[in-house]
Amino acid sequence: MTEDSMVTIEVDGQELKAKAGAMLIDVADQAGIDIPRFCYHNKLSVSANCRMCLIEVEKVPKPIPACATSVMDGMKVYTKSPMALAAQKGTMEFLLINHPLDCPVCDQGGECELQDQSLAYGSDVARFVEKKRLVPKKYIGPLVETNFNRCIHCTRCVRFSAEIAGMREMGSTGRGEYMKIGTYVERTIDSELSGNLIDICPVGSLTSKPYRYQARAWELTQSDSVAPHDAVGSNIHIHVRNNRVMRVHPKANEAVNECWISDRDRFSYEGLYSEDRLTSPMIKENGRWVETDWETALQQVADGLKEMGAGTGALLSPSATVEELYLAQKLVRSLGSDNIDFRVRQSDFRGGEPALPWLGLGIDEIEAVDAVLVIGANPRKDQPILGHRLRKAALNGASVCYLNPLEYDLNYHAEQLLSAPANMADDLAAVAKAVGATGAIIDDAEVKAQHQSVAEQLKQAGSALVLLGNLASAHPDYSILSALAAEVAKASGAKIGFIGEAANSTGARLVAAMPTDGLNAQSMLEQPCKGYLLLGLEPDRDFWNPTQAQTAFKQAEFVVALTAYRSASLEAAADVLLPMAGFAETSGTYVNGDGTWQSFAGAVQPMGEARPAWKILRVMGNLLDADGFDQNSSQDVLEQARNSADGRQLDNSVTADLGQERRLNGSGLTRIGDVPIYATDALVRRAPALQKTADAISAAIRINPGEAAKAGLADGDRATVIQEGNLATMPVEIDPGVAGGSVRVCAALAGSETLGGQFGEVTLEKA
């Protein structure tokens, strides 16, 4: 019997067609026939240990588990026969023996698989009169709360941590009465996908710590939305009570995030309720900030912008929605300015990027590629769901190679070429040479065994992919890197993909939130504009070179910031702060990395006087008497934005000059200023639970032992980083995963705002 031959089975008298070898429970699920289960999960391996899905099959003398029984032609299955029901009821009684039945104080109450099924299959009287066992709770981190008394040993969490998170952190120790689920030793669960443990646990054993005791499931209303933190655009459910976001859950979408979401997408909502929220318009009067009403503030903005006119520079967050970006660029263009950009973390604008970069293939197609070369990126932390897809590809047999200045802790086997920022272009050129490309730099490259090996893997693969990510796009020689990547792709027959840095990097290009002949994000700060319009950005954290940005804003005559938060750096930079709606408070659209437009409605009312940014921008347009600001709904704006994007196609073809001057020459130490996972945007930076995780690192000088010895530094010392005359003092951490000739000083962290660009020459001095 071949795997794809079809068989006919009968379930409860209903005839069903199924693929031979499929599991009975899957076939029944697809036909809408309900079989109770706890341990079975269609994304995890089958363990068949809860025995809840026992059913009767004709000619089989005893009940068998539907999750571990494959269908066979002519099989007759009874899911509700006396034998099946007796087995299910018996199982239920055993499962409840040690369960504390503390539903009234359990967060899972009301949405608990055990509760639901005990209602259907349980008895109303317990026959078990002996003592129930007690299992102490364990601390496993700031995100997931444990109560192992409620555990029914389904081992979903154990299988999830091994198979999906790729870190075997959970296990079942002991046996029989003494079996326990947990980590055995006290340790935290550090996976960037750990929040999914909360969803897969069928009982109240693993629940959300930030949401603990906050609400009951039946008090919540659910709205669908899209996660605002990365180019995946994970589909989410936002659960709301009394106009407050209580929690975020994944919404299954096989083409995007399957049924998972990253911890960043799940727990960032906490940042909405930060004390920093800006809840009313504010203007600076004689150097002091005063609250004002919308009318006054908007009039002041209109007057200010009118005066700035063509001298206005607009810097827009790549996490802003399509609607916001469309209106913002339209507004600034109506002032006669073309200085509009969202690429605030890019420094090389020499035309190295394609016309409309995108992922190059569907997110769900990644797992089917045979070879991947990832350049300047750490998808595991930067876009966790993309990282998960890459891991699936690797487990499917794909060879994955990395070219980075940092060695990453990966959860699958991959070849990692460690290359100092200044050498990345040389290493990539060597790979290009090895795959048979020619051109400037490439011809002079020295091909070593490791380059040859990467090249072989790309060439031999049926379908290969070259991906560029956040570190590549922040690199001072991004043009050269992307041109070389394109050569590698061309010569090896691979696809090339650009992982957008933020939730709407692709959407921003589609609605032209970038200059055609005006100033780009870098030149707007290098040659300061007369005035600025900032949308959703923080001067000290969100720019490639925060010192330069802060200086430019300080010198400007007029700066208006649309922001959900107030912060010292915004107050220093701006003249008017307009409170905009945050995540979940506005309707909008994101275009994710693979070009999928995903719209969502607002789930809660904006806090205080805050208003959706598209409305603010529309009124600003009206006050400036600009044409085309008469939209009545975000739907209208979206329609116009879509029409404006009609002529623009996703296009990854690169036409850069390989012979361009190299900006990083590799003398001395080079800073690697990557943006850590929980520092990417204003919302995440204010989410307290995420900031307590192991991934929420603080500013430090991370340097490999060899370079540390050269600089006379030891682990735990304090030292000063000097970058173009800018200083920052922080502790030293020895990290062998940092390439020689470089030092990792992350961007976007508190303490890094006084430094220069994300990459650049630095010197270290012991403090």
Partner: protein, 176 residues
Amino acid sequence: MGFKSEPMTTMTPLEDKNSLFTPEIRSQIDKWIGKYPAGWKQSAVMAALSIMQDENGGWLSREIMDDVAAYLDMPPIAVYEVATFYSMYELEPVGRHKVCVCTNISCMINGSDKIVDHLEGKLGVKLGQTTEDNRFTLKEVECLGACGGAPMMQIGKQYYENLAPEKVDEILDGLE
């Protein structure tokens, strides 16, 4: 790493295995690894734990389990699972002689209760405890597969069958 596709290996295998254990121990464990297919050296975990337990005076510390995990490229939790599952692994220090009395059905029918009572009285400790002089640890175990000679007990690697209180005295007195 996954239950589905491949053996449960760690992502960061220890490269210099020679830093673990002694050459003799390593060769003993390697002998067991050789009995399993290539790439499945985790299968030798039980043998490795037994070897290390004997080496460490009869019990396994967390450090030893971590070393075994590193030696076999396993995640530590997978070793803890094995060590906590099987009753022959001790996770706390034990006395010089570990007296394991079977109290399963065949032995029970043949009077294992009396044997336990006698042992408890003679050694002055309860099941699961160690004598003050650290000579004996008394332990209740499940069936050791010697029902034909019930009641029985195991001391060290030796089975003692068809027990009676006098015979127990004789056996214990014969030990150092």
